[in-house]
Amino acid sequence: MRTSDLIDETYAALLANKVRSGLTVLGIVIGIASVIALTAIGQGAQNSIQSSIASIGSNLIAVTPGAARQIGFGASGGRGTARSLTVEDENAIIQISNVAAVSGEYAGRYQIAAAGANTNTSVTGVDAAYATIRNVTIDQGSFITDIQSASLAKVAVIGPTVVTDLFGTTATAPDALGQKIRINNLQFIIVGVTKTKGGSGFGNQDNVVYIPLGTALQYFAGNGNAYLSTIDIQASDQTAMAQVQSDVTALLLARHNISDPTKADFSILNQGDIVSAASSVTGTLTMLLAAIAGISLIVGGIGIMNMMLTTVTERMREIGLRKAIGATRKDVQKQFLAEAIALTFIGGAIGVALGWGISFVVSLTGLLTAQVTISSILLAFGVSAGIGIIFGWYPARRASNLNPIDALRYE
């Protein structure tokens, strides 16, 4: 039997029972579509989390103070409360090789007032390098400069959320530029507005006020309290992160006269660690979604087997007739296998299209950008063809093993 004849016979057989073929195909369509759509959504979630991590900076290493320890067995103040990081530490870190940029941070929450409106948000004293380290981009005006920091200038760069909070929902970035605001009752001039970053999970990065670090330490930290809340370090590239992290640790231990690393009065957070933790979480999520979808694929496959078995019984006499006029066992087996594979293949193709459509609709809702990967399409197609072969093989074998006499007599 030629391949073209096999295709003709398969086509005719499937068309002979349109409704049943359609319903069987539907099972596979749902299975494949859900595999494609759910993995696309999982992949989209993974991308969105990774980009949100990337938005807090690139090749970032953040040093935060350890817990404040009191003499004896007093209550611990919790991590981040120790006064251990200084501007001198920051200046020493710059000397380490492969450190591209360093910025100290002094953060606090203060009441901020403009004409007629006020808000409470985080005010962060930063160096000029902060913008590059933490991917802050300026919409209007300019970011804090080192000269402003040195001269204790009372200037501020604010996020778009603060703009609307202070100047009304219709206010745009240019409206805010040059305005005077009061932070903790000190007057500042707005010199810049950042671009919206969006992002979630790591605090709203649009609801911030940046001021020069020197100014922050001078006016908000109080006398003799010139300790930093964070030192942000940018490594020159991804591969240097581990080396920078260990060098920074060694340097700070030496500067703080601590010989036992377990008693360090600071902790270091490496962005790579966050990325890999988040990836493993979203990877597991994607696997879970794919597993659920996989179950519906198996159910669809059983549907195909069920239909093929019914078909074999129903077409018993046809099989007998074909055998009588010269069809070999192989011919019959090929024919039924081809029907099963055609069903799964059609189901697979429609399923891929439908899954793609669902992913597209999900992306349109704006929740996340679902990403259909080539590998998920190949996997879905491979699985559907596999299902056709596995679940079609048994009915095809049953058909081919029929004795032509019994098959012809079957009522």
Binding site: S4, A16, R322, T328
Partner: protein, 242 residues
């Protein structure tokens, strides 16, 4: 061309064993028109299955065109059926929802005949079986019983087989259409020299053949030449003139 030597067929085993054929021997030469006749239970269906290479005998030898087919495997038998035998069954003869032409082409498909050569051969066979071109595109379920059997005869012819085996071809037909089918078989035998074996339980039908083998209880009770076979074409005329 066909030689049956001591063919036996037993179903089941032990005390349950049922012997359908016991020691049947005969031979059929090329160009003969033979009727095998017997009541139900006489073993004629079993004989037909063995003759049609659908089944193998328990013992004895069956030679078809000088080949011993009594010990062949299923797939070898399928090959023999494809090349040597054309079947006409009592019922369920054509594939449903399939055109007349496609039904006749099907044996050529399994025989691996190239697509260009199939339709001319199928059309020639359909014409030989007395069908006209207007029917070729009809679906098999749009045909009358007589037409169905003629398409089945055309399909049996298309591979140019050594033997046409008709198993109760008129069993489901009224007398008039039965005559049409018998006439078709007679024409094929007389004009085209086809070897035909007709299996039936009706003496009226068997009398159209040139030789009648009678079976009873699994053995041959008579094997005689039919000196005056009935002529289906003439009977049809008589019918119409009544």
């Amino acid at each position: 061309m066909i030689t049956f030597k001591n063919i036996e067929k037993t179903y089941g085993s032990g005390s349950e064993a049922y012997r359908a054929l016991s020691g049947v021997s005969f031979s059929i030469a090329e160009g003969e028109f033979v009727a095998i006749m017997g009541p139900s239970g006489s073993g004629k269906s079993t004989l037909m299955h063995i003759l049609g290479c659908l089944d193998t005998p328990t013992s004895g030898t069956y030679e078809l065109d000088d080949r011993d087919v009594s010990t062949m495997t299923d797939d070898e038998l399928a090959d023999i059926r494809k090349d040597k035998i054309g079947f006409v069954f009592q019922s369920f003869n054509l594939l449903p929802r399939t055109t007349v032409l496609r039904n006749v082409v099907l044996p050529l498909v399994y025989a691996g005949v190239s697509p260009e050569k199939r339709n001319p051969r199928a059309i020639a066979a359909l014409k030989a079986a007395g069908l006209t071109e207007e029917h070729f595109a009809h679906l098999s379920n749009q045909l009358s019983g007589g037409q169905i059997q003629r398409v089945a005869i055309a399909r049996a012819l298309v591979n140019d087989p050594a033997l046409i085996l008709a198993d109760e071809p008129t069993g489901n037909l009224d007398s008039k259409t039965s005559l049409i089918v018998l006439d078709t078989l007679q024409q094929l035998n007389r004009k085209h020299g086809r070897t035909i074996v007709l299996i039936t339980h009706e003496p009226d039908i068997a009398e159209h053949a040139d030789r009648i083998i009678k079976l009873r209880d699994g053995t041959i009770v008579s094997d005689e030449k039919n000196r005056a076979p009935r002529d289906a074409a003439r009977e049809t005329h008589l019918y119409e003139n009544q």
